[in-house]
Amino acid sequence: MRHNGSYSASPRIGLLEWLPWAIGVAAFFLMPEYLSLGARILIFILYALSLDLVVGYAGIVTLGHSAFFGLGAYAAGILSARFGVADPALQLLVAMTACALMGLATGAVILRTRGLTLLMLTLAIASILLEVANKATSITGGADGLSGIVVAPILGLFRFDLFGKTAYWLCLAVLFVGWWVTRRLIYSPFGASLVGIRENHVRMVAIGSPVPRRLLTAYTISAVLAGVAGALLTQTNQFVGLNVLSFESSGELLVMLILGGVGRIYGAFIGPVVYMIAQDMLAKQFPEYWSLGIGLLLVIIVLFARDGILGIIDRLVALTRKEAR
């Protein structure tokens, strides 16, 4: 179940890989009262997928991925609330462009560093955006958040309804595209070289690979995906809060990804599903115990199950196969 692009891995989409989409469609019909939660989960899957590309595949440990999620969210929101652009496709496009430029500009300078310096720089960039969003109240709404966002019907046909039906389908469709692109990338020679960089940075340089350019490409693509996720959040909520840019948001996303499993594509699917459903059931009633539990879970995962839920499933499958023999 490990999806590592390489010159010997078949890129064929396995039967099991269609399961998330079947569930996604079925959930719409079976659980209509949970559509807004469903849309949020889909958004965070896309967001986690974008993180998986940099952390799981390229091996860039970042603490500031919320910068791109937040930038996408604010770009879409500001476009609508301040410039009156209500077209959802245009909002997505502007969010993508903003994040691509931001990813290129910041990636070009910070990806030359490694270790603590890189952690620090990613964190500092996200902190800057948070500070800007917090202080530039006339544009962003500051701590009160950005409201007054209008999203016109998609293609002029599908209105955003109160029950979140349209939003759900939009998120599912966009996630599908995002997944397809990411999967394609991972199985490409480019994806294989990212894994090479993750496994051994020095050796990739030594075999003549343009490592900085590869990392920058991955970082920028990831930034765009995260920005799309952010813009989708704006369109579904028609509100942007400062928390999209916070360090806690980056941290929470890392939790979701490691919970599902890093560097596996579908870890980014399972993690947010488990995390957000549990959060929906528990966090409101027991906020203290919720974050205590999350912290404890994270520590346990790191110490005992670093491959996340998918890794555990892999090991169980391997065990039963051994016993069957």
Binding site: N4, S6, Y7, S8, P189, N200, I207
Partner: protein, 249 residues
Amino acid sequence: MTAVLQTRGLCKRFGALTVADNIDFTLEAGARHALIGPNGAGKTTFVNLLTGRLSPSAGTVVLGGEDVTRLSQQERIRRGLGRTFQINSLFRGLSVVDNVSLAVAERRGVSGRLFRPASQLSEVRDEAMELLRSLGMADDAQVVIANLAYGKQRLVEIAITLAMKPRVLLLDEPAAGVPSLETHRILDVLDALPAEIGILIIEHDMDLVFRFAKRITILVNGATLLEGTPEEIAADPRVREVYLGERHE
């Protein structure tokens, strides 16, 4: 004979410490040349100066007739300079054939493609398999490096470098850490390397050096002490002094 790799007056200083002292060195095309010297003689520094990992304080490095002193590691690699590492530097989570494929793909210039599945580039994998076969490693192609015996990992180290089709090959202690019973396998592989590649080997195992090298340079305190054929080196009293001197004092 033509020189494929040459240094003139190569110096490297770290503050007051001189680790490479005015080294003039020539590697002929198709050479089987060994660089030896006691610990701390500056052998690895010299290799790093050749590959461009370090830049010299003075002097020039000439590769295939072109001055590459100011060029980066990548640009030297592209001009045919390959190296192996003293300590294995492999992609530990990947299989042997994937390790070699990455290098083949870089050399063929196809590794940056974004959308076409990598496995469709069958020529990359075929070339990698062919190379492994020539090194007698075809059976281990699917084994993940982390599960591979150390001696075989040393061979993968060489295979990756060969995949780049170098004109000059720097082998930094290829037998380091390999049990002496297995060094013959390394030697077999070295003997079978294409004759046209100029090879510089840095090695402590004197048996291996004297069996493999046609020419030997001795480095002491960052400077060349002596260069000659294995017979000349073995006969020179200064060599004995360098290697055994400390023990006699």
